[in-house]
Symmetry: C2
Subunit: 697 residues, 2 copies
């Protein structure tokens, strides 16, 4: 059967429509679940309001930012408007597609938030009835966002391509998605950890009260943070990764020779089938008889993977796509699973590493930190090797002489980009798992604040713990996919620079302009993440001061006198103001460094810069995400009664480790992904400017 | 004047003879100083014995290791002996030069230890008479090692070259120096931090007794550690850096065309003049009227730099050397100073960063750690840019068409290698400053244990604090120089691989075998440093247990009853056994990873591997060294009475930060330097094997 582009534009529309319909069904299903407890309804309302206030203020700032960028794009990209002649419409198209990317990303985040605020209280109340219904509400709430995010990505990419035909305009769409994600992730990440760290330090450590004790003025802010950082920010982040992977694959597919539109069609087809596979996976997810929530989440991930492989194999046979590329996509997916499992080994509390760190805590917090840092560094190794091997394998599969003769020199790069697409194919499933985490985390808090009783809290706790464990696997996926995507974006950059008149055949590390770029590029993720962590550090200190003020000035609060309520909104305000102030500078540093290196060293320096950025970015984000997860679960392991249990010296040390890990894993670590993607896209977009002018290039 | 090689072999011999004579003079000068206090003599004796025991056991293990490697070299390098034919003598020569490198390195470390054990007690007693005499003893003691180490390097390199004529045989000498340094640094670093961390945690934190309180069973082990880690290990490390820089410059110089021996002569000449400049700097170092020890150390560094520039300018004019190369060496030296100053900004307690971290400590240890990690990452940026710019500048200076036509394509690389030689030219001065630190650190402890009174302790404290501050500047130098050296070693590797029949013109990052190498190479320093830190972590926990045992089982020890002495030797034994067990695996991982990548991906993968290793190695070593120094000085700043002073919550948090920083700055951070060098040398030595066989190469 001969596939046509039009056919697959339609397929993209149909599959995303199915996803939207299914999301709507799940949304109303969740909404139908009972929420009767007055206290929970009230607190869930506070959380929703806090999150909405933050998002509104954040989006206002980002709208200004996006407007400025859109104007700059109209004037300068892809070619300066005064040189564009009759192609002026491309500048307008790129600006529109940029704005489209930001808007879709923002909407996805916002809708995720809406359904998360709906699910948390309902999941808490369902916990009274048992683990299965509570699980289903949490998971289905998360799935709504997963389906929307990926539906938007598939639909948006297909729409832009159908209208403008040129994949390079998609770079604008992708940049829109990723620039919004960069700030949403950074802002949300700073907010959530400001509140979390401050709440833990004043509550757990100083006063020895429980995590979600309603006396703590920061407790609502902490729950708001889970929503804006872990739900909305994460959604924006994965929307961005998915769009970037598809964009990069499409740009390269269009540059291939002799393949008609088949390679382009193949990308669209695989993206649609990935979404379809995820829909099936989501529909079948539930806790089996004698099963655990972790088992349910993981097994639906595996189901989705298997369905994706089967569907794409069928499509490849039916439409006569390249089996080489199918192989690349499959390798990407399999390596993604392996990376996830390796990450799991370092962060799961049934495995030895978490126990070792918990044991080290007995000797004091310095040992908690040192052992966590060490294992965090070691944990980066399997993923780095996995990414390296999947890139190498994809390249070798598609790099035979015959294939290069038929499709051109870019074919191996196409293979790498399709490995990334394969790894991200099940992203809707991943987002569902990821969003499940903060929902049940909230549910746990609400169960405590609503006084639902010990059994409900225990159920909510079990759901929460499963969320933490599964997070490791999904994070491995998304970091791995980001790594492969940016490798292919490096190829995209080279194509774009050559199209602009540069004559680059590669980036030789012995060329000192390349080397210069590499060293500067490698320093950027370190500085970027340091700025985010310092933001959390600074804001959390402010919030600790605010909490102390409330404890000292509100009579009866500390003692838990009946009817005395802390001023929750003050804490939310501290977190909001602080996060909004810190979110722009770090992102700008990364973007400005790219521009500076480009104008100093030209396109060859930028090639090096991107490489340095990828390498140190991967290392640091793996290190930070894994070390953070490791500390978190070590603390939970101690709290479960090991190494002295709650209240022991080991527990105090473990809490300090967890506090260090919080901004590592939820602010800096996952933001680095987005930073790498943004920088790669900026480089591709500005390639002609760097070719036209640079000091040493 | 036409210089000849023979002339400069003689110059090398003469200048190193002057250095040895001057070292001997200083040694006997130190020995003549009075040491009368019985208690100090006794404790200094304990320290000396402990250090000697450790060194003897360490050297025994390393001798076995070196013997195995020497045999392997005879059989396999530079060409397998069965293929070498009449060139079999080269294998023998390389093995002998390898052994020579290890032996000289070992002797330099041992002699440094001897004079350090002589100086510490005398410096303590001189502290009663005032700061000037105490300073002079500490500094001159350190200088003996500085002079010996660099004298050995200059003499050794010249001797090997004079005898075998081929610079590539020097790779064996350099590998000998660096493989010994790798293990000496790792072993010494683990020893010193095991003892330091355990002593601090049990003494300062648990019991609230002073740093060098003689009741603490770990206190002697701590002082032994200063000697074996910071004196002997550091000496081996800088011997290795110096030899590697000279070797790399000489190998490239011999590969130039049309320059007769002039470029080779120039390297020897600059090395000798660097030593001469350091002798002058050392001879003039003293505290001026109203001056401080920090001022004295820094100003003699600047004097040495200025003298070096003047002498080399004179030599360049007199002998008609290339002014381009003089420019490269000067840039290297100037950038080294700038890197040092930038480092100083992040670690000096009169500058804002240290104060910020101290202030953050008020909110608890998690904030101390988070802010230290963040500033540590940021502090890497100036040095990375500095190294990148000096490499770029050197390349541009020597990369003009005319110069390349005259000297061949390797000339720009020669420029980079001479920038490294320039940066390391004043290494004798740097070692003197560096070795001064542990000597006066010991002196402080001895002053306390010998009961020399408050004024003497205050003087010793001031000397110690100057040592910490100056360390930052010297570390910046040595990391920067290692960076430049390994860049030129990358060139050396390419030359060697091409000589073995590979046809490499560069390493393209778009080539997936190169990319594969980069990712794996980047992970290695992370894993390597993690293993060392885990070694410290594990051993310190054992030593804490041993200290607790003694406190619980020796009656009167905790209370400080007259005449009750702890079992110091038990703690020394814990540190020794542990360090010796941990020192080999980490080093082997780095070496074996190189070999694995080489046989999997061939020489192109190794090119990438070396690059990834350099980039992440630089980033991590700068991060760890600076963060460690920052925490150390923040703690001192709090102890000086700020943010609540001693005993406050901020102090406890700062102590935890310092404990985390200890293995960062004194075990892992400085060992990464050596790891990078070793890996580069292994790659060059095995290049022909990788060319002959690899799976994907």
């Amino acid at each position: 059967m001969t596939p046509t582009l039009t056919m697959f534009y339609l397929v993209s529309v149909v599959v995303s429509a199915i996803a939207f319909a299914f999301a709507a069904y799940l949304y109303f299903w969740v909404k139908r679940q009972p929420q009767e407890n007055k206290r929970i309804t009230e607190v869930a309302g506070l959380i929703r309001d806090g999150a909405n206030t933050f998002m509104r203020r954040e989006y206002k700032i980002l709208a200004i930012f996006a407007a400025v960028i859109a104007v700059l794009i109209v004037v300068f990209l892809p070619t300066p408007i005064w040189q564009a002649g009759e192609n002026w419409w491309k500048n307008v198209a790129m600006a529109i597609s940029y704005v489209g990317g930001t808007v879709l990303s923002a909407i996805a985040g916002k809708l995720g938030l809406v359904v998360a605020s709906l699910s948390n209280g309902r999941s808490a109340e369902a916990a009274k009835k048992g683990i299965k219904p509570a699980f289903l509400i949490g998971f289905r709430g998360g799935s709504v966002m997963g389906l929307l995010v990926v539906g938007f990505a598939v639909l948006g990419v297909a729409a832009v391509l159908a209208i403008v035909k040129e994949a390079s305009i998609l770079l604008g769409f992708s940049f829109g998605a990723s620039s919004l994600a960069l700030f949403a992730k950074a802002g949300g990440g700073i907010f959530t950890k400001t509140a979390d760290v401050a709440a833990d330090l004043t509550g757990k450590v100083e006063l020895g009260i429980a995590e979600d004790d309603p006396r703590n003025p920061a407790v609502i802010a902490d729950n708001v943070g889970d929503n804006v950082g872990d739900v909305a920010g994460m959604g924006a982040d994965l929307f961005d990764s998915n769009v970037a992977a598809l964009t990069s694959a499409l740009v390269i597919a269009q540059s291939l020779t002799g393949g008609d539109d088949k390679s382009v069609i193949m990308v669209l087809c695989y993206a649609a089938l990935g979404l379809l596979a995820s829909i099936i996976g989501i529909a079948t997810a539930r806790i089996t008889k004698n099963g655990t929530p972790t088992g349910a989440l993981n097994s639906s991930t595996y189901v989705t993977s298997a369905v994706f492989m089967a569907l794409t194999a069928g499509a490849t046979a039916l439409f006569g796509f390249s089996w080489h590329i199918w192989g690349c996509a499959t390798i990407g997916l399999v390596v993604g699973v392996i990376i996830g499992l390796a990450t799991d080994y370092f962060t799961d509390d049934t495995k030895p590493i978490v126990k070792k760190v918990a044991h080290a805590s007995k000797s004091g917090p310095a040992f908690t930190v040192l052992s966590g840092v060490s294992y965090g560094f070691i944990s980066a190794l399997p993923a780095m090797i996995g990414i390296a091997i999947s890139a190498l394998a994809a390249y070798k599969i598609c790099g035979t002489e015959a294939l290069i003769e038929q499709y051109g020199a870019n074919y191996p790069l196409f293979g790498i980009s399709m490995a990334a697409v394969g790894m991200l194919s099940i992203v809707a499933m991943i987002i569902s798992n990821d969003a499940y985490g903060p929902i049940v985390d909230n549910a746990r808090g609400l169960a405590e604040m609503g006084g639902l009783g010990e059994e409900a809290i225990r159920v909510a706790d079990e759901l929460d713990s499963a969320g933490n464990t599964v997070k490791a696997v999904t994070k491995g996926f998304s970091i791995g996919a980001a790594g492969l995507t940016v490798i292919s974006l490096l190829g995209t950059f080279m194509s774009e620079a050559n199209a602009a008149g540069a004559n680059i055949t590669g980036f030789d590390i012995m060329d000192p302009t390349v080397f210069f770029g590499i060293l500067v590029g490698a320093a950027v993720p370190a500085v970027f993440s340091a700025m985010l962590i310092l933001g959390v550090d600074k804001n959390a200190q402010k919030m600790v001061a605010e909490i102390h003020r409330q404890f000292n000035s509100i009579p009866g609060l500390k003692e838990g006198k009946e009817g005395v309520v802390p001023e929750y909104d003050k804490c939310i305000d501290v977190a909001t103001t602080g996060a909004l102030r810190e979110l722009i500078p770090a992102g700008l540093v990364a973007i400005l460094a790219t521009i500076a290196v480009g104008f100093i060293g030209g396109p060859t320096a930028i090639g090096g810069f991107l490489l340095g950025n990828i390498v140190s970015g991967l290392l640091l984000s793996l290190f930070m995400s894994n070390a953070g997860g490791l500390w978190d679960n070590s603390k939970k392991y101690v709290e479960a009664g090991n190494e002295g249990g709650k209240g022991s010296e080991a527990h105090k040390a473990a809490v300090i480790g967890d506090t260090v890990g919080d901004p590592f894993k939820d602010t800096a670590g996952p933001s680095i992904n987005t930073q790498i993607t943004v920088v790669s896209l900026v480089a591709s977009l500005l390639s002609s400017a760097f070719v036209a002018f640079s000091f040493f290039g």
